[in-house]
Symmetry: C2
Subunit: 149 residues, 2 copies
């Protein structure tokens, strides 16, 4: 299997783009930790680690990482992009707590099977999907049993 670097380099090459130091730095940092993140969080994270890459480059590189298939963009009802790893990570969906914003990932193959059935029924050719369940996580629903937030 190709490494992240190889995939990214290959993608860049196919578009006649270069694998620059900045792109390397961003790639490394993005995959250093397995979490959902936002462009601005990445920026702060790079600053904290004394890695200087300008904001514009971060935005441009994230777009390239998405295009190369290494990242995907997920939106949680907010007005800015959230990213997560595609590389090295099984497809999953999300439970999102409305109270504490905690995100629980889950995988349920039977749901995916049923989605395939639905697509077949409508002759729809699925490329991606996104299932998000909003509600209260265990902790928050305990709290909210007694008193409103």
């Amino acid at each position: 299997m190709l490494s992240k670097e190889d995939i990214f380099k290959k993608y860049l090459a196919s578009k006649n783009l270069k694998f620059t130091t900045e792109r390397q730095v961003i790639l490394d940092r993005v995959f250093a930790d397995h979490k959902h993140f936002e462009a601005d969080e990445l920026l702060v994270d790079l600053r904290l680690n004394d890695l200087k890459v300008s904001k514009a480059t971060i935005y441009r590189t994230l777009a390239l990482l998405v295009q190369s298939g290494l990242l995907r963009e997920v939106i949680y009802g907010e007005r800015h992009a959230h990213y997560e790893h595609v590389y090295g990570h099984e497809h999953h969906d999300h439970l999102v707590c409305n109270n504490c914003d905690k995100i629980i990932e889950f995988t349920e193959h039977r749901i995916e099977k049923l989605q395939e059935e639905v697509c077949k029924k409508y002759k729809f050719k699925a490329e991606s999907h996104r299932l998000q369940i909003q509600g209260l996580c265990e902790n928050c629903s305990k709290k909210n049993n007694c008193a409103v937030k």
Copy 2:
């Protein structure tokens, strides 16, 4: 069963708000057609029908309609709110065509059942969910077999 108007009037009364002409106009227009829509589309639609309601009133009234339970907000990966009818409409999910933006609604109770299982497993108290499958609709996938868009 209460009509849309009755539900809205009741909600407004409970908040000491008035059922004004503008609110009536917006309610009517929103339910005149069974489609997903965005605040801005509604604005254009009202203009085209020579119904003059200011932008601020549209935004405020949509918020009231959501609060009253007549509408819900759905987001399709864009950065702004999308609305759909709750009143008179069974819960459903969406197939969204990446090519022509067509939206197909579907209902699959077995998926909902499995979602309940998942929630139980994580002791998560679901309040709402949203499943969206992106891809190509029948028409567009035919077209795209031969040539790239």
